[in-house]
Symmetry: C2
Subunit: 510 residues, 2 copies
Amino acid sequence: MTTRRALLEGIAAAGGINAAVAALGALGGLLPTPAQAAAPVLPRGGRPVIVIGGGIAGLVTALELKRAGWPVKLLEASDRPGGRCLTLRAGDTVREADGTTQKVEWDSAPHLYMNPGPARIPHHHRGILGYCKQLGVALETLVNQNGAALAEGPDGPVPLRQVNAGLRGLVAELAAKGLPRGTLEAPLTTADLEALRAMLRGFGALDHQLRWQGSSRAGWAERPGLEEGKPTAPLDPAVLLNPVLWRGATFAEGIDYAATMLQPVGGIDAIARALAKALGDSLVLNAEVFALRRTEAGARVEWRDRQRNGRLKQETAARVVLALPAPVLAALDTDLAAPRRDALRDLFYASAGKLAFQCERRFWEDEHAIYGGISFSARDVNQLWYPSHGFHARKGILLGAYIWGGAAGARFAGRTPAQRAEAAVADGKALHADYAAQVAKPVSVAWGNMPLARGAWVEWTEPQRAASYALLRAPEGPYHFAGEHLSHQTAWMEGALISAWAALEGLAWG
Amino acid sequence: MTTRRALLEGIAAAGGINAAVAALGALGGLLPTPAQAAAPVLPRGGRPVIVIGGGIAGLVTALELKRAGWPVKLLEASDRPGGRCLTLRAGDTVREADGTTQKVEWDSAPHLYMNPGPARIPHHHRGILGYCKQLGVALETLVNQNGAALAEGPDGPVPLRQVNAGLRGLVAELAAKGLPRGTLEAPLTTADLEALRAMLRGFGALDHQLRWQGSSRAGWAERPGLEEGKPTAPLDPAVLLNPVLWRGATFAEGIDYAATMLQPVGGIDAIARALAKALGDSLVLNAEVFALRRTEAGARVEWRDRQRNGRLKQETAARVVLALPAPVLAALDTDLAAPRRDALRDLFYASAGKLAFQCERRFWEDEHAIYGGISFSARDVNQLWYPSHGFHARKGILLGAYIWGGAAGARFAGRTPAQRAEAAVADGKALHADYAAQVAKPVSVAWGNMPLARGAWVEWTEPQRAASYALLRAPEGPYHFAGEHLSHQTAWMEGALISAWAALEGLAWG
């Protein structure tokens, strides 16, 4: 083997890899040790604080204040902590802003639940994982990528393993074709080229002539048993170029989607409940804030007690942390400065949504050997998620739609729950022919319709980030701010938590 | 988009993909539905059978006979069912053939165990999964591929996500360089090429000029939080060509290693115990068979009762199923025909082995955010396995070596347990600098030294398969045969089970 620099230049000379890849200086001891994510250390016993909004951002803010001995009260409008960190189970009710109501009619069992909002935790989201560890929230693996799951191709569903093997084979064969043949361009040595070819063979499962002829990576046409197996025939390259297929086989390369993904055992709301338990009576549920006013000593918060016929209450504190989604905060009666109120109103929130069915039989396991993971639809439902828990159990909750927003999200939100279910069944049939007979008891959450969220997550545009991000993060008099929208980890619980830690720094030193 | 045939020919014309890939006929409705794996249906109440060897093959054979009402007795030499399907926990003892003994000194807790033999179940091994379902063996995900785990490169450990992203980037960029530029060779249309380029961009995370400049898929140099993140610099291509790296990032593409992988909750021996429980008193433990002789009515089995001072026993049956590893069977005093005995003796068994440590602290989670998965060593220890269960628990069992055989396996087997541990610590330091301080209480199993296995799994050569496979599978008088070595799924529990089902067919109709 030549030096790495020579090899690199050799490949570049052969028309290959960009010289910018040669970040040779970065190589020695390049293993980054993840910083131990930790909340800021607060001075003991600061001034009284009211936190408004009991989602992850508000819960974390209040808990860290309480731990540091600050007088703190967290006001949450609903009857449960967590906000969008929500789990639905037998007996729960989903109420939309227009009064549309769904009752969850599923069986009662630990494995029969749906997480309509956040549902997975990347292994490198050290903040939220740290709270899980501190508070004893049990975690298990969430299968995000599963080769047995399906993608809807132009001719029907294809197992992702077949797509993935086909893509690797196609790309590796094309790469091999591009290598110099016959006379070698210096300084790529024969040994370098042989190492490169060996890698391409292994990368793509190419044959000895560096051609993709198929392999068992794509699955078995006949399984091995008493006799040798026969691999599935390779997919047509034109099928592989269908974006639903290659995107489905590629999405889990993303840093926030790559293994290991985790989930709390029994539902994501285990995190919210653990935070709420640690907060004890500092958390006030059913406290619907409707107005905020500055006072000489801080601010006055006016709220309705939804448990007691809407009895009006008010209290004051030196500081108020507003940990609400922007559309909800924008709708309150506040004395926030006009530029902030304008910026809040201008933020766009994704009208994402999910829909889940209860299934009498885990047909995805029985018929396709699908244990967890995601199938990719070419239709509105976008994704089907199979449960990563309760394997082989009686019944299961199948996520029959995960729509990120856009036109499909608007259609989803604009339909009644029954219409959503009907559309989801129609879409799902393209992946599982017998779908209509297998799924029942639909439950859907269209986040744009949820009165205390008014959207799933922020969608910043670049100009908005430039114009408003610093403004919206900055404290204003007694008011401080937190929420996933005030981070660069939007839509993740980790982003909410990072914004909370930033708000705590502001409270401590501001 | 043109027709797929045209696109295909276009790519071929452009010097690309092999025409053999054009298995167009195979495309319509190509989704293979896995056959419902099932044991053969036996006639009710056949002649008496003795099964020898209580590994997976013997347990399955005996259970299916019992279910069909045949008089059956399973003789197992050790004091537990399962054979190589073994879990070690606090208080267990490992005894090698030469008398070397290790006591497992770990703490007693459900998550503190080691599976020295089989440890994972591919989702498409429908036979063994079927028994898990029937017998109520709880399953959970085993993380086989984890981007946070490490590979030992020439300059130190590298996270697999960085290797994987680098390989995809490098190969996709090389593939893009090989595409026609400027004038297009017919019949590849502009639209086809654009679809191909879009796929390459997505496949490799290339930039708009189709160059690999790095991406967050490789990890973060600075994590996103309040500000945008900065991706890790791309790896030098010469580092990527190190086989430890690219093999480590590629192994889970294999059909038997791809997600979803499963494991029984609490240890692999849950399967053996469930089968044994279903067998009830048809299973006789501590029954060490030493001789077999044909009789007029079938065969006579002579054995020692190891629980009762080796008291000699014998019994006869119409049929005897020999479900023993070949080296163990070859060493018995039998009247098997000479060609079979020769073939049994000639079979080569891998001297594979594993070693595990108890760790006071799950440093791999704390410091590297590694939740399950495998790190790849360039040294004898080969692989480190992090537990896929007990996340965030106190303590953990870390597999510090998984050696498949060969020279490293011979070295491993030739050492004392203490020497093995010393060598494993030295090797492990290359992946985790502080390793020596973190690992304790080693336990090792070198399968070649285990008296009732004499090897980990068969390693057939092609000429041996041609010469002996049919012979060894065929019944001989009253004798029938089973075991992973009598399948094309060698080393897997599924292979043992498939061989058992074949033996049952032989008993039923032979």
